[in-house]
Symmetry: C2
Subunit: 413 residues, 2 copies
């Protein structure tokens, strides 16, 4: 089965909105063994959209279309497809009910244009949208299945996870599978990682090995095509062992988790608690931990001490320390972590202080970061990093390094 992805919206072609869907859907289709051969972006224009459907029908059996299902005048994806397939849309009672109940719980009034979102294809499928007002739709015509999904990623992705993957699987009973196993690394750059695994990367084709630099860290993927999940697993396992043998110290997850998820699940399992003291990261480290559901079991809270006076008042950093070593120092980081541990009465406390930029301060360069981890028992440990890049990148990587060291500490036991 050959597939293609079409994304609809003038905002894409003008560059105001980025197409995050083609990549996501290609990845998901690959996992199901369905190659995606084309990505097309088209603006909110009936004729060009119609032509895009004509082309897609001629070369694909599965056409996934994102966007243009909203309530406004320029949303015309399903109307144009109905035209192209020469069918008339009908109101779907389930979609109408879902829309009415969605608006019942909101302070925003339902306008007349919302109603057009309740129309669906005869003999088609409607996928209710738990996170927005536009349902997804599917219809098959002349051997081609069209799946229409809402444009907002916060709606499209959960709909895919909850309903669409299963629907696509129902279209292909006998398939050869592609299995991909991710290994997430931090604390080792992409070049250095490749250098360590050069021979494996060059010699292996199935399983193949590829590295991808992420916003923070690197993901390595072992990918194999096989007849069964069991065969795929066995072939991946051999090479996985060799990789972990060489660079396993930097591999924090094999489940596409973020560092904060890994840290939290260890702490939740051990019923340990943590508190956080932040300077240059401005609350981002605490936030990363609280993005994970159930984090309140382990995360008691934190303080952001953004000025020297507040560092004294809120984290008891001594005037002496600030004068002698400066706010950007291991000594300040240590006092921040230890005081926060005492104040929050947490098992562990972690602090970050540094210089996010753009201008140097205290005679220290932009990107200098100090991290301290204090525990109820044991000595406080201190780490030093020089992070290259812009303000937001320094903040991001400082927070991720803090999580990385916390993870290493937890691994030690």
């Amino acid at each position: 089965m050959k597939a293609e992805v079409i994304t609809v919206g003038t905002e894409l072609l003008m560059g105001y909105t980025l197409d995050t869907h083609s990549g996501f859907l290609s990845q998901e289709c690959a996992m199901l063994g369905i190659p995606v051969h084309f990505h097309t972006s088209v603006d909110d224009d009936r004729d060009r959209l119609y032509q895009t459907f004509q082309l897609a029908q001629s070369r694909s059996e599965l056409v996934i279309v994102c966007g243009g299902l909203g309530p406004t005048l320029d949303d015309l994806t399903k109307e144009t497809l109905a035209d192209f397939l020469n069918v008339e849309l009908i109101q779907d009672p389930a979609a109408l009910e879902a829309l009415q109940s969605a608006f019942a719980g909101r302070s925003i009034p339902m306008t007349q244009n919302n109603l057009k979102q309740t129309y669906a294809f005869p003999n088609g499928t409607t996928f209710l949208n738990s996170r927005g007002t536009a349902p997804g739709l599917a219809v098959t015509s002349e051997g081609v299945t069209y799946i229409l999904l809402p444009g907002p990623p916060g709606e499209m992705r959960p709909m895919f996870e909850d309903q669409i993957r299963e629907f696509i699987l129902s279209l292909i009973p006998n398939r050869r599978i592609i299995v991909s196993h991710p290994l997430s690394f931090f604390g080792i750059g992409e070049s250095l990682l490749e250098d360590q695994l050069k021979d494996l990367i060059q010699s292996e084709t199935s399983p193949s090995i590829a590295t991808y630099a992420e916003e923070a860290g690197v993901v390595l993927r072992i990918t194999v095509e096989a007849d069964s999940a069991k065969e795929a697993k066995a072939r991946i396992e051999l090479i996985r062992q060799e990789i972990l043998h060489r660079v396993g110290d930097f591999c924090f997850s094999e489940k596409k988790e973020a560092l904060e998820e890994v840290v939290l699940s260890i702490m939740q399992e051990r019923k340990q608690t943590v508190s956080i003291a932040e300077s240059c990261t401005g609350g981002f480290l605490t936030y990363l931990l609280t993005t994970i559901p159930g984090s309140s079991q382990a995360v008691l809270g934190g303080v952001v001490t953004y000025t020297n006076k507040i560092k004294e008042r809120m984290t008891n950093v001594s005037v002496d320390t600030l004068q002698k070593y400066g706010a950007i120092s291991g000594e300040t980081a240590t006092e921040m972590a230890e005081h926060t541990r005492d104040q929050f009465q947490s098992d562990l406390a972690i602090s970050v202080t540094g210089l996010a930029g753009p201008t140097p301060a205290e005679g220290k360069p932009v990107g200098e970061v100090w991290i301290a981890i204090a525990a109820k028992n044991g000595k406080t440990e201190v780490h030093h990093h020089m992070i290259r890049g812009q303000r937001k990148r320094v903040q991001l990587l400082a927070a991720k390094y803090a999580l990385f060291h916390l993870w290493q500490r937890l691994k030690k036991g």
Copy 2:
């Protein structure tokens, strides 16, 4: 001048990396009056890349290529273009010097493969990369200009801003301009905004009006094509006035700024300070404010009180209040804000408490959020919102609503 954008990398076609470049570059080219007609993504394969260059040469005068300039084996963009143009790459002394000095300041060793990044086109242009190791390159052949840019967005975008826009402008002396004026809205949905401006949106073609839902808020763009900046400005101004007359209360910026930037610049101008107390947002509100350079003038810091016990200890919320009204209440928000203002001795303090989910608590639904703003002088104000969506969305919108109310408060004087 017709342009196209090519993005290179297997990770794009497999869906592991999203193409953020085509959109960005299309937008930038539109601003310069250059229409972009094609976006192509191609994997790290010499033959397919060669074919893509052939096609581009046949239909465009400006070809912007992103990615494949890195140090690793699968980076082959410039080598393939050199093949295609039948020229030999030469080492650029300036690029070599920049690479050596970049590695001098880092703890990571320079590997041999980094050196290939110092090779450039004869009679071409090299754009040094202040944020990474791969320089950008440009070369003109048979009337077509090729611009090669590094793949990482943190490198490509600053390079575009600092060097490439100017370079492209130098290619087109007499151009008709497209001017686009953005208005950023918060607190009004896209449907409602369009509803209020329906007649203008339908009747106007130049200037045209279009709305784009952002992650938080809506951006409206007035776009006009004109012979001069002065003409464009006058034509935009007429319609801008009408829009602001109708929905100006929700328009927080006309400069593509984020809410946090607008809030901070007002506070910095007035030399006011703020502190923050957060529960459900977990530090994200404080972080948003600290992403802005110079924020430490206004932002003293904050506390994240993630459990009831910590709310008592760190923000002095009374046991009575917590028992009678719960942590998710206007009363708790008020006490958090007022105590934080006193503790940090800031002019203003803002608090957020709510339920990010995924499970209801205290008999309150997911998405219920309370925001309080306390000031040195004047009564503490309280706001209530019901936010629909997943955990991260609730956190994001709760923080943005807090900024929105802070902005409204500051506007009042």
